[in-house]
C-alpha cells in the first residue's frame, strides 16, 4: 500500500479504497467476475453431479423414512383409528369400519388400494391379498344404506377382526416412519415400541457383520499382497517398473465380469486349480476343494479386483521416500530389517491408510462379484439391497439398508480421520 492511502484512511473504521468505497467491497467486486467465470467452468460438472448423484441419494434417503401412503390412501380411517387402543384385545368399532369402507371405495376407484396392500404386506404378510380382495367387494357397496360395515368386512375376510392388522395400520399411519430402519436392523415396531424380530427372521445384522468382516479380510489381504508389489514398483529400475506397472494396470482395465468369470473357471471344483492339485496328488479326486460360491471365493476374487486400488496409493507414497533414509538408518547401525521396520515402514503408513480406505469402502458396497461367486454364504448386504430394489420392490427397506451402509462408511472415515488424520492420506 502506498503512503498516501495509509495516511488517508481513518484510524478506526473500515479501510477505504482510493474512490472512497470500503476496501472489502471494492475487492469483492474486483473478484466477482473471476469467481463467476470459475463457477461457469465447473457448472457442467456441478449440474451433472447434482442430477445424477446428490439428488438421487437424497431421494433414496428420504424414501427410507417416507410413509405417506397410509394416511393418503386411508385418510378417514387414520383419523378414526387414532382413538383406538392398540394395547387392548378388541378390534375397532363401527365408526372405523365405516371410514374404512369410504376410504377403500375411493382407493379402489383410483386403484391405489393394491399399492397400500403391498406396502403393508412388508410389515404384516397377508395384507396385500386382504386389500385386493376387499377392494373388489367394497366397490359394490352403497355407503349410505349398506351399514353396518363391521359385519360386512368380517364377511369378506376374518382377518379384519385380527387385532394385528389394525395395529399395523395404526403403527404405520404417520407420514414418517422408523419402520424401515428398524427392519434393516432386524427389529420391528411392536405395541410397546421397537422390539427385536423373532430369532428365525433376523438376517440383516448378520449380513452387515459379514459384510464388514469380509471387507476387512479383503483389505488385509490387499495390504499383504500389494505392499511388496508397490515396493518393487517404487524401487526397480524405470524400464522394469514400467513393465510391472502395466501388469498391475492391465487387470484394472479388463472388464469386471471377465475377471470374475475367470475366477469361476479357476476356482470351481472341476476347475483349473482343483485339477492341478488332483494331478500332482495333493488332493484326492473325491475330496476336491470348495473354493467358490462361498466366502473364500468372494475374498479371493474381490482381493484381485481391488488390488490396484491398494497398490497405486502405496506406490505413490513409496516413490516419494528418499532412499537416503534407509542408508542413514544403516549407517547408524540398523540391520536391513530394523531399517525397514523402524524407518521405511512408518513412512509408508499414509499410503497403506489411503489404500485401505479406498479398498474397504469399495468392498463394503460391492455387488457384482459377491453375486457371481459368493453363493449363499459369501453375499454382501449390497446383494440384499439389490434384491429389494429389483425383486421385492421394497424400496423403503433398500433405502434404509443403503442409509445404514452410508452411515457405517462415514463412521469409518471419521474414525480414520480421528486416529490417523485424513490429511495423512496420500493418493498421489
Amino acid at each position: 500500500m502506498s503512503d498516501t492511502t495509509t495516511d488517508d484512511s481513518p484510524q478506526n473504521g473500515p479501510v477505504l479504497a482510493a474512490d472512497g468505497t470500503p476496501l472489502r467491497r471494492s475487492l469483492a467486486r474486483a473478484l466477482r467476475r473471476q469467481k463467476l467465470r470459475a463457477l461457469m467452468l465447473i457448472a457442467p460438472l456441478l449440474i451433472f453431479i447434482m442430477v445424477t448423484f446428490i439428488l438421487p441419494v437424497a431421494d433414496m434417503l428420504y424414501r427410507s423414512v417416507e410413509n405417506g401412503i397410509v394416511s393418503e390412501t386411508l385418510p378417514r380411517t387414520v383419523v378414526a383409528l387414532a382413538d383406538w387402543d392398540a394395547g387392548g384385545d378388541t378390534p375397532p368399532d363401527e365408526a372405523v369400519f365405516a371410514a374404512l369402507a369410504a376410504d377403500i371405495q375411493i382407493a379402489a376407484e383410483e386403484k391405489t388400494h393394491t399399492k397400500l396392500g403391498s406396502r403393508l404386506n412388508y410389515e404384516n404378510p397377508g395384507m396385500s391379498s386382504l386389500f385386493r380382495k376387499s377392494g373388489r367387494q367394497v366397490q359394490r357397496w352403497d355407503l349410505n344404506t349398506d351399514g353396518p360395515f363391521k359385519e360386512k368386512f368380517l364377511d369378506i375376510d376374518d382377518d379384519w377382526g385380527d387385532i394385528d392388522v389394525w395395529r399395523t395400520i395404526q403403527t404405520y399411519s404417520p407420514a414418517m416412519t422408523s419402520g424401515y430402519y428398524l427392519a434393516a436392523v432386524d427389529m420391528q415396531l411392536g405395541a410397546d415400541g421397537p422390539e427385536m424380530r423373532p430369532e428365525n427372521e433376523r438376517i440383516y445384522l448378520k449380513l452387515f457383520g459379514r459384510t464388514l468382516m469380509m471387507s476387512l479380510a479383503i483389505t488385509l489381504s490387499c495390504i499383504a499382497l500389494g505392499y511388496p508389489v508397490a515396493w518393487l514398483l517404487a524401487n526397480l529400475p524405470m524400464r522394469t517398473s514400467n513393465l510391472l506397472m502395466i501388469l498391475v494396470l492391465l487387470p484394472f482395465w479388463t472388464s469386471l465380469l471377465v475377471r470374475t468369470s475367470a475366477w469361476k473357471i479357476l476356482l470351481q471344483q472341476q476347475g483349473v486349480i482343483n485339477d492341478i492339485l488332483v494331478w500332482i496328488g495333493l488332493v484326492s479326486d473325491d475330496a476336491r476343494l470348495v473354493m467358490i460360491n462361498n466366502q473364500l471365493g468372494t475374498i479371493i476374487a474381490m482381493t484381485h479386483i481391488l488390488l490396484p486400488f491398494m497398490i497405486l496409493p502405496m506406490y505413490s507414497v513409496m516413490q516419494s521416500i528418499n532412499p537416503s533414509y534407509l542408508r542413514a538408518a544403516k549407517s547408524l547401525g540398523a540391520t536391513d530389517w530394523t531399517a525397514f521396520w523402524r524407518v521405511y515402514f512408518p513412512q509408508t503408513v499414509p499410503g497403506i491408510g489411503a489404500g485401505s480406505i479406498l479398498v474397504f469402502i469399495l468392498a463394503i458396497g460391492y455387488y457384482i462379484t459377491p453375486a457371481l461367486v459368493g453363493g449363499t454364504t459369501g453375499t454382501f448386504i449390497s446383494n440384499r439391497i439389490a434384491f429389494h430394489i429389483s425383486t421385492s420392490l421394497n424400496w423403503g427397506l433398500a433405502a434404509a439398508l443403503g442409509g445404514i451402509l452410508l452411515a457405517v462408511v462415514l463412521v469409518f472415515y471419521w474414525a480414520y480421520d480421528k486416529f490417523v488424520g485424513i490429511d495423512n492420506v496420500k493418493l498421489g
Binding site: 537416503s324 542413514a328 538408518a329 549407517s331 547401525g333 540398523a334 531399517a339 513412512q347
Partner: protein, 365 residues
Amino acid sequence: MLDQGSDDFVVFDKVQKSYDGQTLVVKDLNLSIGKGEFLTMLGPSGSGKTTCLMMLAGFETATHGDILLDGQGINNIPPHKRGIGMVFQNYALFPHMTVAENLAFPLEVRKLGKSDREAKVKRALDMVQMGDFANRRPAQLSGGQQQRIALARALVFEPELVLMDEPLGALDKQLREHMQFEITRLAHELGITTVYVTHDQTEALTMSDRVAVFNDGRIQQLDPPDTLYEEPKNSFVAQFIGENNSLEGTVKELNNDTAVVQLDDGSLIDCRPVNVKQVGDRTKVSIRPERVEYRSERFQEGAHLLKAEVLEFIYMGDVFRTRLRVAGRDDFIMKCRNAPDQIRLKPGETVNIGWMPEDCRALDA
C-alpha cells in the same frame, strides 16, 4: 595433518569403481587418511568423490582394490557393522521421529540402556546447542537446525570416523559459514577422523587439514589448503581452486627454478617451471589475480612486463577488481587491496603489469 595416531587410519589401496562395466568412475585411487585428520574430497560433479565416500560407507562396493579401516579390510563388511557416522546431503532425518528419537535410534539398535541413551542424547544435543529442541519433529526445524541434528545424530554413537556428503549445500551463505566453523570445531574437539565431500572450494580450504582434488576419477592433488592454493601442481587444480589467470604459450628458456615463456602474441614472461619438461613444450602459465602488480616501483630489475589495457574497474569494498586485456585475452583479472595509496584505474588506460617469477607457475598445457 594432526600429530596423533597413525597416518593410515583409512586406506584406499588401488581402488577402482565402475557402474556399467565400460567406464571407470574411480580410476586407481590410492589414499591414506590419518587418525583425527579432517580430509576433504573436492571436485566437480561426476569426478568420483561421492562414489569414494559411498564405497567407504559401504553403500557401493569397489570393483577392484581394497579399502582398509584401522588396518582391517572392510570390503565385505555390511554398512551397519562399519560403525561409521554419516551426514547426508538432505540430512535424512527420520520425519516420523522426534529429534530425540532420531538421536536415540543408533543407540537403540546398539541395545544401550534407557538411562545411558538419554544421557548420550542430551550430551549430543547440547554439543550442537539444540538442547531445547528434543521433542520437535524435523519438519518443525529450520535448515540450519536440521543440519545440527543430523550432525549430532552422526556423532552420538561416538564413531571414530565420520563421513559428510555435501552437508552444507542447502544452507544460505551466512549459515553455511557458521556451520563450517562449528563442524571443524567439533571434529577437532572430539578428535574424530572426518572425510568431507564438497564441490565448494571455499569450504574445502577453510575447513580441511588436507584436500584431495578429484577430477575424472583421479586425485589430481592431495595437499594442505595453503599448498594447494599457492602451489597447484597442474592446470586443473590451478583453475579449480580459487581465482586464476591462465595464459597459454611455449617454453623459451628453462633453468632449474626459472623459465621464460613466450606467449602466443609474442611477449615474454618470467615464471617458475612446475609441469614442463623441456624447451619448446606448450604450457599454461597460472598467476593468481592478487599477485599481479602494476606499480613500476615494485618490479625487480630486468623483469619482463606485459602491456595491459584496462577494460573494467569493479569496486568490491575490500578489494578492487580490474579486468584487463593482456596478450590478446580480455579476461585477465587483477585484484588490489583497498588501501589509501591504491589508484583506481580507469577503463581505457594502459598499464604495465608484472609479478614475482615464483608466483607464476608454468603448468601442463
